[in-house]
Every structure is written in structure tokens, then in C-alpha cells.
């Protein structure tokens, strides 16, 4: 169980998160929805321990994250950043092997190589294993980053926009990979995501962030016309299709719609 309790964070004097609380259980994916600037990435970094909250706490399996060391946190939590450095002249195998870093003392042992081999074959990356990162497509690269995080053998996985910059097919493939990994390994995943429909399709829990605080938190039922208008400032129609909710954007609202003036909008203008 990963629990964020009343986390407040500011960059300088700019308050980004205001008393945010949420919980993610093992084996489930929790999506954080909210517009640009709502604090999704900041929330992930606070949960990860990269940023230190001004107030509140992050509990990792009941233990206060601020008391766990850097390495201990790295053994428990994997992170897939939004923009990951693909500039390094590394092979896929080496990139995934890097996930073993928190477990490695002097050098990578046979056990570490075995874990990497297993993750690579589980994610069907075998054919790419000796390709260099700068030769991969966006979708392949994203899967490699997820593989690296899985090679950390973490109990918790935090992902920042894992499907941004991917085409439709790759979005589905990456999310399918993620869902399988979370289910098979009993991982708790917390994911910031822009695509509401992708989130509805692949996760069961949602946190709606609006202006740095939690607007709503719960199952798919909280994603409705009212909350979408409040969170994104967009009028939507919600439909059920094959048991999955779908959000169809109709147009941006004229009013301030509760947005906190982040960057550009994702749905139409």
C-alpha cells in the first residue's frame, strides 16, 4: 500500500500541492487526472521522495518515506519519468540493467542478469536487447523504460505520462504491458496521464487534481460531466461502451471552469 497523506508542496512561494491525500493498493493502477500545471508531476515526485513535501507524509507499506534512505526507496519504488534521457549510447539490455543499480554492490551478478533477461522476455523486448536506445521508436523506448523500472523489482511503480508522444497502437500496447505487469507482479501503480479515455480503459481508480488539490477520488464513476468540466474546463458527454466509460469532449467552457491557468489545453478550443 502506498499512501500519500495531506501532502503540501510549494516551489518557492508558489503553492503547487495543497493537502493531497490518496492511496494505491497492490495490483491496481491509479490514474491521476488533471490539466497541465495541476501538480501531477509534482505529486509523483513527492511520492517518490525526490521532492520533500512542506507538510504531510508519504507512507510506503506503512513506513514513513522520509525515514527511508535513498537506496531503500529505490529498492521499493520504480519511476518512469516523462522525458527520459535516450541520448545515452546504451543498449536496451544495459538500460534495463540500470534498474538493478539499487541492488548492486560492486558489479552486476548472474542474479541481476537473470532478472533483466526475465523482464526483457516478459515485455517481448528480446529482439531489441542489443539495439541502442537511440535506434528505438518512441513506443519501444517507453517499454524499455518500464522494463528498467520493473527490473528494480519495486513494490510500487510511478509513471509520468507513459503514453505521451506515442501513436494509438503504441499507447494501447504500452498500457497493456503495464496492466499485465501490475497484475502479475502485484505492483501498485500510480500514473499521471492526459488521456482520460485511456485511463478509464486501463485503471480502476482515479484521482482528479484541480489547482493542486484533490477534487475527487474514487472509481470510474467519479469521471462524469461535472467533474470533467471542473477539472479540465471542458464540456463533455460520458457514455458507457462495453462496460467501459468513455468521455467525448464537446468543447471548452467559456468561463474559468476551475482551471488554474496551467499551459495549453488538451481538448479542443
Amino acid at each position: 500500500m502506498l499512501a500519500v497523506e495531506g501532502v503540501t508542496f510549494s516551489y518557492g512561494t508558489r503553492r503547487v500541492l495543497e493537502s493531497v491525500s490518496l492511496e494505491v493498493a497492490r495490483g491496481e493502477i491509479c490514474s491521476i487526472l488533471g490539466n497541465n500545471g495541476a501538480g501531477k508531476t509534482t505529486l509523483l515526485k513527492c511520492a517518490l521522495g525526490i521532492l520533500r513535501p512542506r507538510a504531510g507524509a508519504v507512507l510506503v507499506s506503512g513506513e514513513d518515506a522520509s525515514r527511508l534512505g535513498r537506496m531503500e526507496m529505490a529498492r521499493r519504488m520504480g519511476y518512469v519519468a516523462q522525458r527520459d534521457g535516450a541520448g545515452a549510447r546504451l543498449t536496451v539490455f544495459d538500460a534495463v540493467l540500470m534498474g538493478r543499480r539499487p541492488h548492486i554492490g560492486w558489479g552486476a551478478g548472474t542474479g541481476d542478469l537473470k532478472v533483466v533477461e526475465e523482464v526483457i522476455s516478459a515485455l517481448n523486448l528480446g529482439d531489441l536487447a542489443l539495439r541502442h536506445l537511440d535506434e528505438l521508436s518512441g513506443g519501444e523506448l517507453q517499454k524499455v523504460m518500464i522494463a528498467r523500472a520493473l527490473a528494480q523489482e519495486p513494490g510500487f511503480l510511478l509513471l509520468d505520462e507513459p503514453t505521451s508522444n506515442l501513436d494509438l497502437g503504441n499507447q494501447l500496447e504500452v498500457m497493456e504491458t503495464l496492466r499485465r505487469a501490475v497484475a502479475e507482479r502485484g505492483i501498485a501503480a500510480l500514473m499521471a496521464i492526459h488521456d482520460v479515455n485511456l485511463a478509464l480503459r486501463f485503471s480502476r481508480r482515479f484521482v482528479l487534481l484541480c489547482g493542486g488539490s484533490v477534487y475527487a477520488c474514487g472509481g470510474p464513476e467519479i469521471v462524469d460531466e461535472e467533474s470533467m468540466e471542473k477539472v479540465y474546463g471542458v464540456k463533455v458527454e460520458v457514455q458507457e461502451r462495453g462496460g467501459t466509460r468513455m468521455v467525448i469532449p464537446l468543447g471548452a467552457c467559456g468561463g474559468d471552469g476551475g482551471r488554474d491557468g496551467g499551459g495549453e489545453e488538451i481538448y479542443g478550443k
Binding site: 515526485k45 517518490l48 525526490i50 535513498r70 537506496m71 526507496m73 529505490a74 529498492r75 519504488m77 520504480g78 519511476y79 519519468a81 522525458r83 527520459d84 534521457g85 541520448g87 545515452a88 549510447r89 546504451l90 543498449t91 539490455f93 544495459d94 538500460a95 540500470m98 534498474g99 543499480r101 539499487p102 548492486i104 558489479g107 542478469l113 537473470k114 533483466v116 533477461e117 526475465e118 526483457i120 522476455s121 528480446g126 536487447a129 542489443l130 541502442h132 523504460m145 528498467r148 528494480q152 510511478l158
Partner: protein
């Protein structure tokens, strides 16, 4: 089927890393062979066998005198300085995530030149004595060395202080280094303006790096700084790899990003500063060696650090061997030779693109 596939992936990877290890072993062997060959060259003819005998303490006194006390110290100085410059460039490029990072872009070399110029002009460390081979002698070499070292390290300290207290990004660190480099170059020019022609000659002479300036004592100091720092870099190889994936990812892998970057920068500059303040400025080795190694064996620091060290040692030793044989008995400045050899080689590799290791 899954396990079979996994086994073949692991096997292919092991073969891949074995090829990298082989390259490093090859580069080290080539460097050692070149070292022996280099010691056979010179006005007194010595065969490779005699060199090996002398190294083993089995040669006659005259040969031992030439090989051990004249040529060996020079070869070892080239090896240690080559390792130091290359490993420093490799780590600077790694921690700043910038292929341009080197002792030049960070103002280390310009700082050393300014320090030396100031010592020669303002503190009267330079003078001219005609002693045949070298037209210019620096009267007080230690004063020049200490001043050069102070200049070299001050640029880095200024950049590191900006990073530590103002939190500037790696890109800004490079820009700040370039700014400090220009500042020091301007300082050197102004110093030269107020110098007499003898002093200007001394400054110019000093800035041409020459591995022959090292005696046993200087070699010992250089080694005492370079080798432990290189070992420290090897210990941190996983951290440098993690940094290449971006700061946030590195932090999520348990890396103390700020400390790794500052320590790497400081120690890399220290190694470079020691080398250039004893030997003078040796261009290009720090920039090119890591790139050459990266082109062949990739960016994994587990192999890149030893690979760059081997390439750097080979490059500097080869340049020095050329510099003292090309127009013998005149010894050309090795710093000019490194650029002369390094630049075309580098351009060729850039044009050819990456090779699959």
C-alpha cells in the same frame, strides 16, 4: 520457450560485453607495446629486448641509465597524463550530459595558462637561458606550476559554487565554464601586453604542453592524484550511467545526483589541473579520448571509463613519440601534435557515424 529466449538474450549480451572487454584489453596491450617501442627511439639506439631487460633490471648501466632515467619517466608521464586527461573528460561529459565538456570548455586550461602567465610576468618566474636544446628556461618552475594550478582549479571552483548555491543546470555550468575560460584568456592577453618579449616567449613556451617536463618527483605527484581519482570514478560508474537517463530517473534509482555531479566535476578538474600545471596545456586528449572510446564500445561507463583511459594513454604516448621523432633532434610540442592527430581522426569518426560494437 520463454527460458530459451531469455537464455539466448543473456548469452548474446555476455558476448557483447566480452567484445568490449576485448577492445579494452587490446588498447592496453597496444599502449604497453607502444611504450616499449617508444623507449627504443632516440639518439642512442636501444633494441626492444634491451628495453625489456632494462625494465627488469638486467641491462648494463649505460642502457639502464638511458631507458629508465630518461625515457621511462617520459613514457610514464605520457601514460599518466593521458589517463588523467581522458578520464576527466569522460566524467565531465558524463555528469554534465554534454559531449562538449572538457578541460577547455570548463576553463581549466585557460585558467592554468593565465596562472602561469601571471607567475612569469608578475612574480618574475621566467627568464631565458640558452642551453642548446631548450631556448627558454623557466627559472622557478614550481612557482609557475603552483600558479597554473591555482588558475586551473579556480575556474572550476567558481562554476561549482554557482552550481551548489545557485542551483544552475548542467548546460549553464558549461556556459559558465566558457565564460570563465574567456575571462582567463583575456587575462593572459593583458598580462602578455605588459610583459617584455622574453617573458612573452616564456609564456608561449609554457603553454605548449610537453610530457618531458616531468621528473620522477612530478610523475609521483601526478600519479598520486590521478590514479586514486580514476579509481573513484570507476567505483561511481553505475551513478554516471544513471545520470545519463536524466536527473529524476537517476534520483529514483537512488543516486545522489547533486553530490555525484559536484564530486565528479571537482575531481575531474583536479586531475586535469595537476596534469596541465606540470606539463603545460595538452589540447584535445580530454575531449577526444572519451568520444573515440564511446564510438567503439558505447556509453556504458563500466567499460567507457577504462576504455577512455586506455585510448587517452595511447593517444598521448603516440603523440609524444611522434613529437620527438618527426623532426629529431627537435622535439615538437606534444600539445600541437595531439590536436594535429586528434582533430582529423575525430572528424573522420564523426563523419563515419557510430559503429556497432
Amino acid at each position: 520457450m520463454d527460458t530459451a529466449a531469455a537464455g539466448s538474450v543473456g548469452g548474446a549480451y555476455r558476448a557483447y560485453t566480452r567484445r568490449k572487454a576485448l577492445f579494452i584489453a587490446g588498447a592496453i596491450s597496444a599502449t604497453l607495446a607502444l611504450g616499449v617501442f617508444s623507449m627504443t627511439l632516440g639518439s642512442a639506439g636501444v633494441t626492444p629486448l634491451e628495453v625489456l631487460k632494462a625494465l627488469a633490471g638486467q641491462a648494463d648501466q649505460r642502457t639502464a641509465q638511458i631507458v629508465i632515467h630518461i625515457r621511462l619517466v617520459r613514457v610514464l608521464a605520457a601514460l599518466v597524463a593521458g589517463i588523467g586527461l581522458a578520464v576527466a573528460g569522460c566524467v565531465m561529459q558524463g555528469v554534465l550530459l554534454n559531449p562538449l565538456a572538457s578541460d577547455y570548455t570548463l576553463g581549466v586550461s585557460q585558467g592554468a595558462a593565465f596562472g602561469a602567465a601571471l607567475a612569469i610576468v608578475a612574480m618574475g618566474a621566467g627568464s631565458v637561458q640558452s642551453t642548446g636544446a631548450d631556448a627558454v628556461l623557466i627559472r622557478n618552475p614550481y612557482l609557475v606550476t603552483v600558479a597554473a594550478f591555482a588558475g586551473a582549479i579556480s575556474a572550476t571552483l567558481a562554476v561549482l559554487l554557482l552550481a551548489r548555491y545557485k542551483g544552475i543546470s548542467p548546460e549553464a555550468m558549461i556556459l559558465a565554464g566558457i565564460a570563465f575560460g574567456s575571462l582567463f584568456s583575456a587575462g593572459t592577453v593583458i598580462t602578455q601586453y605588459f610583459a617584455n618579449d622574453v617573458q612573452v616567449a616564456s609564456i608561449v613556451f609554457w603553454t605548449f604542453g610537453d610530457v618531458g617536463r616531468a621528473s620522477w618527483q612530478e610523475l609521483a605527484i601526478m600519479s598520486a592524484v590521478t590514479l586514486p581519482v580514476a579509481a573513484f570514478f570507476v567505483l561511481n560508474r553505475w551513478n554516471y550511467n544513471a545520470l545519463e537517463s536524466g536527473d529524476d530517473t537517476a534520483k529514483s534509482l537512488g543516486v545522489n545526483v547533486g553530490r555525484t555531479r559536484l564530486a565528479g566535476m571537482f575531481l575531474a578538474s583536479l586531475v586535469t589541473a595537476v596534469a596541465v600545471s606540470f606539463l603545460g596545456i595538452i589540447a584535445f586528449v580530454g575531449l577526444v579520448s572519451p568520444h573515440l572510446a564511446r564510438r567503439v564500445i558505447g556509453g556504458d561507463h563500466r567499460y567507457l571509463i577504462p576504455g577512455a583511459c586506455a585510448v587517452g594513454a595511447f593517444l598521448l604516448l603516440a603523440s609524444d613519440t611522434l613529437s620527438r621523432t618527426m623532426v629529431a633532434p627537435v622535439v615538437l610540442p606534444v600539445g600541437a601534435i595531439t590536436s594535429f592527430m586528434g582533430a582529423p581522426l575525430f572528424l573522420y569518426l564523426l563523419a563515419r557515424g557510430y559503429r556497432r560494437a
